[in-house]
Symmetry: C2
Subunit: 400 residues, 2 copies
Amino acid sequence: MPHDQRHPFSYPVAARYAGMASSPLKDIFALAARENVISFAGGIPDPQLFDLGAVTETYDWVLTHHGVRALQYGVSEGETELREQAARRLCRSLPTDASQIQVTSGSQEGLFVIAQAMLEPGDVVLVESPTYLAAVQAFSVHGARIIGVDTDDDGVLPEALDEAIRTHHPKFVYLIPTFQNPTGRTMPMARRQAVAEVLLRTEVPLIEDDPYGELSFTGGTWAPIASLPGMSERTLLLNSMSKLMSPGLRIGWVRAEGTIRDTLSVAKAAISMQSSVIDQLTVARYLETQDLDAHVATVSAVYRERRDAMAAAIGRVLPDSAHVTHPDGGMFLWAALGDGYDAQAMLTDAVEAGVAYLPGWSFFADHADVSTMRLSFVTHSPAVIEDGISRLGEVIARHG
Amino acid sequence: MPHDQRHPFSYPVAARYAGMASSPLKDIFALAARENVISFAGGIPDPQLFDLGAVTETYDWVLTHHGVRALQYGVSEGETELREQAARRLCRSLPTDASQIQVTSGSQEGLFVIAQAMLEPGDVVLVESPTYLAAVQAFSVHGARIIGVDTDDDGVLPEALDEAIRTHHPKFVYLIPTFQNPTGRTMPMARRQAVAEVLLRTEVPLIEDDPYGELSFTGGTWAPIASLPGMSERTLLLNSMSKLMSPGLRIGWVRAEGTIRDTLSVAKAAISMQSSVIDQLTVARYLETQDLDAHVATVSAVYRERRDAMAAAIGRVLPDSAHVTHPDGGMFLWAALGDGYDAQAMLTDAVEAGVAYLPGWSFFADHADVSTMRLSFVTHSPAVIEDGISRLGEVIARHG
């Protein structure tokens, strides 16, 4: 066999992943994970707030009462009990039948399933500028061109959306209307209505991502754009248990009316056959027997204190040129330092000073504002947050 | 808003899923699931043989000892303990480091991840004729052209493979060398060596799918083609816990040498971020503390009795024109009834007579032999198998 005399073997890699074996974000997270660094970089729930006792009991109940079923193959659309519980929760803002639910292994798979089912190479997807970077990736690897639409503190600008639709004829629009990642912004009702009007008039489908909506600090709840008149039939609405119950279980779902739900199920089958049956049955049983709302209220109260701590601290250290969001829920705060600042370039110094954040450039599909940074306020106590932001303040002052 | 006066909204569907909202196979499985039908159609493990007690204890152990970690985000390549256990098992036939393991949500996601990482539209993939239909789908939705290569009872023919490679310049070759789905065939060592020689000479990568290899009825084990000299660096080898421990947990892995493993991880992240952390930790702990080999030996002994029952019964009812495989392991037996028979057309009569199978046409990428059928022997007891095959015999006789 002649292989020993030849060059080392190398697999052909599809263009969509060419040069992506490592990512700058991975390097950033590695930096942020260093000892003695207070990291605001990640978007991970505080594990101390997990409802571990009830989850453990629920796994045991499922294995005791439905063990054989939990270990056997299930169906691609998802287990009936979970689809029913998902529909029940959705019904609080939007009439939903269990048959309209496609279970996915977290929202990431939901976004990927939608992209598989709908996108052709060369299609345009419109997104908020900035937006969730892993969604952009799920669309990009399907050959879509991602175009950012201008936003203000109330979310995407309806006029800009209208113009972008007329210019680019997108396959769909992707929005995170409530406690957005990365900005923490929420679209008020009037803005939601204006956006819906544009989408109805132009007949462009909406992908509405809502992983954070229940993490409200005001007690208020936000009706999804999907619940506005005429919108439910043209909106694929994504929910996830990751931020409310546990990200480790990888359970989310897509609400879809009409035959597109069947197409999503066929795509889901091609991708991963079905989601973990035991995890699905456990989430279903948890939603049936536990008070998730009470649990989420507890979590949100803790996160609100931390939001307050971060908002107060950062107000003291930001330069006059800066603009910072004040989220009413969710996990993130977004700061634009203003002209002359480069959050990526500043990161090495920040880590040296013992604090880390996510530079904002990675959340822009195009025309990145390099002075921006995303700060998660959910991981640390108020005291640690104050310490971290004060360290950040020194670094910002040096770079001013 | 003008939407009410218009046609009902309809989502654009990507060409790869156009017309796939329902599948003929789904209809077949619905038929097979009817009451009083003895179904040999599915490929599902016998749930009575699940090691439910130990699995339940293991979930409890993981949640008690690593609960917070089990519920938190993990990493795209998979949890360290699981990758170590996977490597340990692989080392019995092929030196493997944990860093060479990419965890996937079952082998289906493994196939999809590989397709994402490697395939461009228009690429050719060579497969055995017949082969596993869900693999074909994972490749097809990436725009690949699937071409079947001729086989005999020892698997793919090396000369035919050589010629197909020279004619079609495939991106990779996909093979299931041991207890193949759908035929139950196994490639002997000499054939494996001849196939490896072709792949080494032509420098075409191999995707080697091995979900059934441990379900051996002879006590013999089969070294993967990946373990032959020169092959490990050019073979992506897939294993799955679905047929050995539980399909409901959706845990499998891909063994990959070199930088392609990083690319697989990036693709996995885009598709589903990571597999269920709790399921990964549970499988890892199970593999560490339980004797999976002993469990698999018990399962295999039961399946062997059923293979014997089906082989004996079917020998009595097949026409002279038929050819049937005699699997040394796995779950399936494959019968070609011969010229003039149409297994799909015969299925309605079969279900009427109280027996179901999977018509073989769906397992061919091209040039289907419509007289073929796949029969799973693992689901029913020998007595039920004899009853079912005797019903099938009457139907075959009527169609002869």
